[in-house]
């Protein structure tokens, strides 16, 4: 991260946006790796960095696997890490069902990549202090993740 590029919000929080492309398995995980590196560089504790990285990675993989495209907005305040992952895609019809460990709608290709075990959303929940999911079938999904220091 180059300091000159660090955009500061009015409240003094660090904010950065990333693009994620659907079906782009080659770059899948690049955004969460970058987020992890940013947090390491600003000196966030290793256990917190790991939680954010895992939650971000699962959310990023969901966009790659299911959506056409998406954005990840990282916001860093003195108290917490906030991730807002928005995508244009099929949406989640039954969020409660999707939150159950083992439930998956993954295709064979996604399974070949090592995903689709039905652990994505449960993993995000496990590694976050707050998780809010809004989804409209046929439109897209918005996943809000908060990890406190």
């Amino acid at each position: 991260m180059r300091r000159g590029q660090t955009p500061m919000t009015e409240e003094g929080a660090f904010r950065r946006n990333f693009e994620v492309l659907g079906e782009d398995f080659y770059n899948a995980g690049r955004v969460s790796t970058e987020i992890k590196e940013i947090l390491q560089q600003v000196g966030v504790a290793a256990t917190t960095v790991r939680r954010v990285a895992i939650a971000a990675y699962e959310a990023e993989m969901n966009v790659v696997m299911y959506a056409r495209r998406g954005t990840v907005c990282l916001e860093l305040t003195p108290e917490l890490v906030h991730l807002l992952v928005r995508d244009e895609g099929p949406g989640i019809e039954d969020i409660e069902l999707a939150m159950q460990e083992g439930y998956s709608t993954a295709t064979e290709r996604m399974r070949e990549m090592g995903f689709g075990a039905g652990m994505g959303l449960p993993n995000i929940q496990k590694n976050s202090d707050r998780l809010v999911i809004h989804s409209t079938a046929g439109v897209g999904t918005e996943v809000e993740i908060e990890v406190r220091f």
Binding site: S32, G114, G118, M119
Partner: protein
């Protein structure tokens, strides 16, 4: 246990990370599903997997995994090796199956990642 010792016990070939064989391995996780790896692996645990692609390297990076051993003689392609090199992640390959590889390390006293 040092990675060097893991290499000897599992009769591994080192694909990348020859200079990092002194890495300390505290635990082992044997798994082919990356989401399960993310759910169960602890930081500093060695990953034994048959999933030989970029996602294994990405997953290792995200979850603080210090090294990866590919089992069943599966070899990563050049791009996967390049990503591991870029991330400084040692990769080893063993011809052993996952169960046998885990068993050998477990019998040498390296614990698993039990307890979530």
């Amino acid at each position: 246990m040092k990675l060097e010792e893991v290499k000897r016990i599992l009769e591994c070939e080192v694909i990348t990370g020859h200079d990092r064989l002194d890495t300390e391995i505290k635990m082992v996780c044997g798994c082919d599903l990356m989401s399960d790896v993310l759910a169960f692996i602890k930081a500093d645990a060695l990953l034994l997997t048959g999933l030989v692609n970029r996602q294994a390297i990405r997953t290792a990076g995200v979850a603080d995994v210090p090294a990866v051993v590919f089992v069943r003689g599966k070899r990563p392609d050049e791009e996967t090796v390049a990503l591991a090199e870029e991330k400084g992640l040692p990769i080893l390959v063993t011809n052993l199956l996952l169960y046998e590889a885990c068993g050998r390390l477990y019998s040498q006293g390296v614990p698993g990642c039990e307890g979530r």
